[in-house]
């Protein structure tokens, strides 16, 4: 459970872990019913309306203005998104 939360980038408390473990167990056993269907030779459907090779015309169109996009960011520096440190000094 803690591993799943980590994969999903969700910081969870011990209480939440306990609650979710119970609920997720129930939900997973309910949805596991899909396994009752004999479907070994059935093609999967990933999309209701299958389409392939959808291209748009190769034409340059203007992007959103930089200041409009950065206006909604939680932190900005030098016209860029500012993020917490990613690399340590040794790296």
């Amino acid at each position: 459970m803690a591993h799943l939360a980590r994969l999903a980038r969700l910081s969870v408390t011990e209480d939440e872990l306990e609650l979710f473990a119970g609920q997720l167990g129930e939900i997973i056993s309910a949805v596991a019913r899909v396994g009752e269907v004999a479907a070994a030779d059935i093609e999967p459907t990933s999309h209701a309306v299958p389409m392939t090779n959808v291209y748009r015309p190769d034409v340059v169109v203007p992007s959103l203005p930089r200041e409009a996009v950065l206006a909604g960011a939680p932190s900005v520096e030098d016209d860029k998104f500012r993020v917490p440190q990613i690399l340590t000094e040794e790296a």
């Binding site: 799943l4 939360a5 980590r6 994969l7 999903a8 980038r9 969700l10 910081s11 969870v12 939440e16 979710f20 609920q23 997720l24 129930e26 939900i27 997973i28 309910a30 949805v31 596991a32 019913r33 899909v34 396994g35 009752e36 269907v37 479907a39 059935i42 093609e43 999967p44 459907t45 990933s46 999309h47 209701a48 309306v49 389409m51 959808v54 748009r56 015309p57 959103l64 203005p65 409009a68 996009v69 206006a71 909604g72 960011a73 939680p74 932190s75 998104f81 993020v83 917490p84 440190q85 990613i86």
Partner: protein, 503 residues
């Protein structure tokens, strides 16, 4: 605003009870101005929304400005479109340039998008007046609007009941006469189920008919935006504004041309002679409230009385729709919601120099997402993880194929399929706490979502004083057929009279 400003168009109460079609016609004739119509609806919102809580954000200035430009266009002699000057409530999952857009989540609180969704642009270009943004289950995950981070919306029929979900703010706004039109999105039933439990009409289009560009994604292979209104004709008029190809959405179908309005008007003649209507055996019986079943049986009799041939049809794999949906939708959501990474928009928590980027992401997502969103992200992460993928997500996709085949087989025998839109009428706010019980509200609507086929919910009576919806499902791309049959049914039963909101 004062009632004296409405002197030309009758009282504000009259104006908010008009259909969209009649409102637009009155504006075109000059009986009333678009500004007066907008003012009447803003007054109704001021009066009832403290009780209903349909709106998260009201844009009075923007609405009056948009209405004024419709009036100016008319004064300049320009021809007005079929919905010019008609107010609309927009679900908060659709991005609107410069207007707050939260998708019902704390993680986007205060965010103002830098662009308009394609459907927002289409609505503005049609001269439709957007009144504001409506409440919803967080990221459209829910069937009651109780999962909104901003508190629940109340059903106008009975304020202690849920208005359905996830588009519950939009359905409640229309049922409370705060707007004659609204936009919802439907991933597993989020237009049809709220329409059913608030006694209005709601339509989920064929997947790909309406652009998803600018719709905050929940489950990309299922999400479709669509219209709400109090009549079939109004729903069709709005649908004719929404559909059409969009190069910004690679799943958008090219070369579509529907005339839903024409289909609704033709259908209102009411003759269904030669139309084959299939009753889906698997969408009824055990687990369906007696009042819902009784209203549905009456609806079947009505359709028969209009000349339709009624056939019972079996779709055996519909039984697995719930399980398949609750694997596919969470899987896609776990991937889509990865974009909320505390970098580009919205909330950031823990950025004090002591936490790594990954820790800031995890803390932000923990603080910004509600419990249902977290549950679905974790289910999706599990279903997609190595070793489980084939048994869960892969198998769910195969079941999806079988559901598509059930529809194909059924549509060889009948023109449309029908069922109740929901197994139960609106339940009490706070009454359903177990996630799986909540998921069962989508039982009737999930098959058409998984198959990408169009479906409409139209009011078909009351059970214990609360509305019941009839679902009419058509083959992919036969969207017009839903409107034709719904209009015939509505003509036969009369438009449902919705009571005024009382505290």
């Amino acid at each position: 605003m004062s009632d004296s400003s409405l002197a030309n168009g009758g009282s504000g109460t009259d104006l908010v009870r008009l259909t969209a079609a009649d409102t637009a016609a009155s504006i075109r004739r000059g009986d009333v101005t678009a500004v007066e119509v907008a003012q009447a609806h803003l007054a109704q919102i001021a009066k009832v929304d403290p009780l209903v809580k349909a709106f998260l954000h009201i844009d009075a200035d923007g609405a009056l400005e948009a209405a004024a430009s419709v009036d100016e266009a008319r004064a300049a002699g320009e021809a007005l479109g079929p919905l010019a000057g008609v107010p609309l409530a927009m679900k908060d999952v659709v991005v609107t340039k410069g207007l707050p857009t939260t998708s019902g989540s704390k993680i986007l609180e205060g965010w103002r998008p830098p662009y308009d969704a394609t459907i927002t642009t289409r609505i503005k270009d049609a001269g439709i007046v957007m009144l504001g943004k409506t409440n919803m289950d967080e990221f459209a995950m829910g069937s009651s609007t109780e999962n909104s981070a901003y508190g629940p919306t109340h059903n106008p029929w009975d304020l202690t009941k849920i208005p359905g979900g996830s588009s519950g703010g939009s359905s409640a706004a229309v049922a409370a006469f705060e707007a004659p039109l609204a936009i919802g999105t439907d991933t597993g039933g989020s237009i049809r189920q709220p329409a059913a439990v608030t006694g209005i009409v709601g339509f989920k289009p064929t997947y790909g008919a309406v652009s998803r560009y600018g719709l905050i994604a929940f489950s990309s292979s299922l999400d479709q935006a669509g219209p709400f209104a109090r009549t079939v004709e109004d729903t069709a008029l709005l649908y004719d504004v929404l559909h059409g190809h969009d190069p910004c959405d690679s799943t958008s179908i090219a070369g579509l041309s529907f005339d839903a309005t024409g289909a609704a008007r033709a259908g209102a003649a009411g003759d269904l002679t030669g139309v084959r209507v299939g009753v889906v055996r698997e969408l009824g019986g055990e687990g369906y409230q007696a009042g819902v079943t009784a209203s549905f049986d009456d609806a079947v009799a009505t359709l028969k009385g209009l000349g339709a041939e009624i056939v019972e049809v079996s779709c055996p794999n519909f039984e697995y729709a719930l399980a398949a949906y609750y694997l596919i939708a969470p899987s896609e959501c776990s991937s889509n919601l990865a974009r909320f990474d505390a970098v580009r928009y919205g909330l950031r928590v823990g950025d004090d120099g002591s936490n790594s980027l990954e820790e800031v992401m995890s803390l932000t997502r923990a603080a910004g997402f509600g419990p249902e969103v977290k549950r679905r992200i974790m289910i999706g992460t599990y279903a997609l993880s190595s070793g489980y993928y084939e048994a869960y997500y892969g198998q769910a996709q195969k079941v999806r194929t079988l559901i598509v085949r059930d529809f194909q087989a059924a549509f060889e025998k009948v023109d449309v399929l029908i069922s109740p839109a929901t197994p139960v009428v609106a339940f009490g706010i706070g009454e359903v706490v177990d996630p799986i019980t909540m998921y069962r509200n989508d039982l009737c609507t999930l098959p058409a979502s998984l198959a990408g086929t169009p479906a409409i919910s139209v009011p078909c009576g009351l059970s214990d004083g609360l509305p019941v919806g009839l679902q009419i499902m058509a083959p992919a791309l036969a969207d017009e057929r839903c409107f034709g049959i719904a209009a015939a049914f509505e003509r036969a039963t009369g438009i449902l009279q919705i009571p005024a909101v009382t505290a």
